[in-house]
Symmetry: D2
Subunit: 330 residues, 4 copies
């Protein structure tokens, strides 16, 4: 199974190569970068030395001839690649936002016209596992919506209000230096970087709708002085009181067959480098507020790991192939 | 003005000495520690070398003869000191929880009997400035309630639900090594350390009540990989929609005469080492949720700095005496 | 191949389980802990949940019946286990200091009597690969000596003075809370924790002697605000000037067949979680000082990974089995 | 005493304003920035809000009419300002490298022509206190040379080789985003950023020469995941053995009258935000190697604080005026 990574020089590109190094069937044969064509991948990702001899290339999309392609490019760029790939039968996982939302929602939220829209599954396997194998193109979810949705999903129908208070590591801001990811602005510091308006809330609302929830959904992200990980604290308000036992049962039932969701106290280091989402929850005295907390690695379950999980489902591989990476703690 | 610090070996003791070094009228003449009596203060607080030649002592409380005393001891210990001090006319600021709540609330929340209760002002000057000068004993607020209450106070009467999602630095866990404050459990990591039940919520509810609010108040604290600071994100839900202009006006009016509250984008490094509380706020589209964020240094405005602010009010000093410390950024 | 980990509750025990999860022949069947016997390993190592169902046990050493044992206990404890294991034919890798040095050196450096001494290979495969397969007991090197020796080895015969200035992450201080590993003493901070006298210098001198060096060897370790990793800066002083080309050739030749030594710019994140040692070197103008820098993960190449590398050599497995873990960057 | 800061938008500019806020005689009346002219200083330095109402201006240098000017601009820029200022009698402290070295050394080390050279005192008061009051222009030392020289100075005449192994916080890399100061390259990481060749070694050699040392001087800097501070480990090799008592006496004598040098275990947090240099030292067994360690805040004793110390000496103020800032620990 030959694999291409379109846009391989960023963090998610590096993570795809890292994880696919242990995949039993797939092999990365093409890593593209406009700026770095001709250079060794291990030059910009020195941690990968010993695992890849690839050089970056910059082919026309029509010349990419593989079984599977990952689009690790920014939103609005992905829509320029997807069409050519899928019409030639290449299974494609898009890590950008371009296919996650209905066309009109996408255009409103991102403020751009979508020039090559397709309706495709939202690649959160824990919610959409049945839809994914049928499609040649899958939209890999956003990092925040992944952790947030998995935290609250079992209570979707009971909630009237859900407030996601998320805290992300700096790698979410990408590999280009900026005031946002500069050490002296982040180290030994903490800030809210959006207060009431972040584009990812649209995905969160979509998924709550998919689960039959009528809850109003709100989202505030913060920036942590850590490299990786998102911890989301979901404050879930209910009309009718609930007991801890009922909540325990809802979560245990919902995630009973999910290898990558572990019901235990979440911490970023407990999932670091892995595809796990750890979730815990507690009912407040009175029963009308539940706090559910999830932890993921934003680059793995929040991006490249989940993309491989989708690839595995699309291609009939074992779902955890390439993803049996133990978290790195401490 | 001679000052004693009862329990000077911890972080708040060190901070009192640091800040009082620049006070124009007060001088620390007594720093107590049961374990360290006879040792130089600068031995355990080496950063203070050059600013204090004091040695720790371990006097009977009845032998402490000063103008002002700070109780920097744990809750349940403070109640053993306060009586003797105040009956001898020593102005006392208690940094513990012992006098912050009504007696019955205290006993319920802390699960102990209060053996020497007094009703005293709650020393949050921005809300209780008029009460503080009249008292010989003031209860210094908890670190979380300080930042949380200042974030939401101007909207107290409009809110029906307030969720405080707080993130604190590790110094809040004290100077004794534990699994909570061990580097390998905290560094490059992030966790929620209480989900629905933390004792400080009682103070938060009390202050909202004092402000005439009927909001239900909730609180979830998290532990950050930083040394100092608390950032609180107050998710404030309203029955009636509000505009950004109205909220701007409410906050500007509420804090118009408060030197230590600055209405600007909060970050922990922006207030580090200082007595400031920086606050910002934004109305979500639709007008029924306001996110207000505050940042304080937990050891200063959240403890020792506010204690000195209270001392200044109690003793007729300028309110900012000893507190004109510029934040340390980065 | 059944494996026991004696002393499995610490960091090196956790790392052994993490890495052996991907070993093609070995399986951990016994994880001992005196304090935690009866509890699930995944309770204290929650990141391992999904990879092990083991419970800690506390057997008599004579009842441990496996093919391979790792001693992940403190020095002076290991000597109580090794004899019983090896006399029953169990291949044993000792991660403590008990068998790294000649008996008299050990007793002098560690200030204790050695009650069960054996002369065994020093398990640094890059220097002692030929000796390791012949032994039933191997002494796994110290974390500092591993990185230091690999940095300077190719220049051993040319050096007259070697100063190792090492900087280690906090996990080197173990899993028990102490003032050394407390966040507020380490975070956003940096210190030298020994200036001229650390026990590991004895191993460093031994290995330089093994390489035929007559250099005087010195060592100063520092404590970094990071979880993992040791970066060692070797300041190598020469009597006769050398050129960059000569040094390049020496290192390339010395490490030509070593998978786990990569000659590229070292950083802690470039080797994080992996068994690699990255090394770079530069000749100062004038040619009489070379600076060679190495980076390892102290818990992997500096402990558990190298121990598995030794096991593989002792048992005839592929040397990298269980160790094909890609570094985690960032 | 009216003060101008030329180039006030960087870290050293911000620190000058922070510290001068507590100066008893000086007042900052002019803060220049080409890019930010017209904007409030507190906009880019929000921590300073409440302490300054200044706006950035962009005057011609000839229009700057003050008593004292600080040049907080890059090297090669400073030489364009200094002449105009000093010929109009404005006492000037240059924080750049432009006047620290002899002209020919400067031109060789920095690879540029010096277009307005003056021979001026090297503003390290602990070594050059007598020269500073006589001059209208003082060259403020580099951050690394300050900490390194203060660590080794008392042993200058005894050393034959000095190796400075320095570790700096990220603020040394300035306020502009770059791959060097990006969080994901620095956080939970550590690297050597120059191995054998850094321009600051020229100042270090100059000062050892000034002290009558014939030692060969070497320097390797590293980048720490901390905001502020430089810890320098000086490995000092001697021809003749020395005892700990002799070294104690040398240091105590050398620094007996220096308020800003404290002989105690150095840590970055122990001097954070302050003008102190903490120094400790230990003789290795055998007496021919001494390890001396110093800690400074690179932005204070390594830049703005020392610049104010120089201003105080030049203007006849108390040397510590504006510098009685207690370190911020933790």
């Amino acid at each position: 199974m030959q694999i291409a990574i379109i846009g391989a020089s960023g963090f998610t590109g590096g993570e795809l190569i890292r994880l696919l190094a242990s995949h039993s069937e797939g092999e990365v044969v093409c890593a593209t970068s406009r700026k770095l064509a001709g250079k060794a991948v291990a030059l910009t990702h020195p941690h990968l030395r010993g695992f890849t001899d690839l050089e970056y290339t910059n082919p026309d999309v029509g010349d990419i001839d593989v079984d599977v392609a990952f689009l690790a490019v920014p939103h609005t760029a992905a829509m320029n690649y997807a069409g050519s790939l899928i019409e030639r039968g290449i299974r494609t996982i898009d890590l950008s936002a371009d296919y996650r939302l209905p066309k009109d929602t996408y255009e409103k939220v991102y403020g751009v016209e979508h020039t090559d829209y397709h309706t495709v599954p939202y690649g959160l396997p824990e919610l959409h596992r049945n839809e994914i194998p049928r499609s040649i193109l899958v939209a890999n979810p956003g990092c925040f919506p992944t952790g947030a949705t998995l935290a609250a999903a079992p209570l979707a129908k009971r909630a009237h209000t859900i407030i996601y208070d998320s805290k992300t590591g700096v790698s979410g801001a990408g590999v280009s230096p900026s005031v946002t990811n500069m050490y002296t602005n982040v180290g030994d510091n903490f800030t809210a970087y959006k207060m009431t308006a972040h584009r990812h809330v649209a995905e969160m609302r979509q998924e709550m709708g998919f689960l039959g929830s009528s809850a109003s959904v709100h989202f505030t992200p913060h920036l942590l002085p850590v490299n990786r990980g998102i911890l989301t604290t979901a404050h879930i308000l209910l009309d009718e009181p609930i007991t801890q036992e009922e909540v325990d049962a809802l979560y245990e039932d919902f995630y009973a067959r999910e290898f990558f969701v572990r019901l235990q106290r979440p911490s970023l280091s407990g999932v670091r480098g892995s595809n796990f989402c750890d979730v815990a929850f507690e009912v407040e005295e009175g029963g009308k507020r539940v706090v559910a907390v999830s932890a993921i690695d934003n680059l793995v379950k929040g991006a490249s790991g989940q993309a491989i999980q989708n690839m595995n489902l699309m291609c009939g591989c074992a779902e955890a192939d390439g993803l049996m990476v133990v978290p790195l703690q401490p």
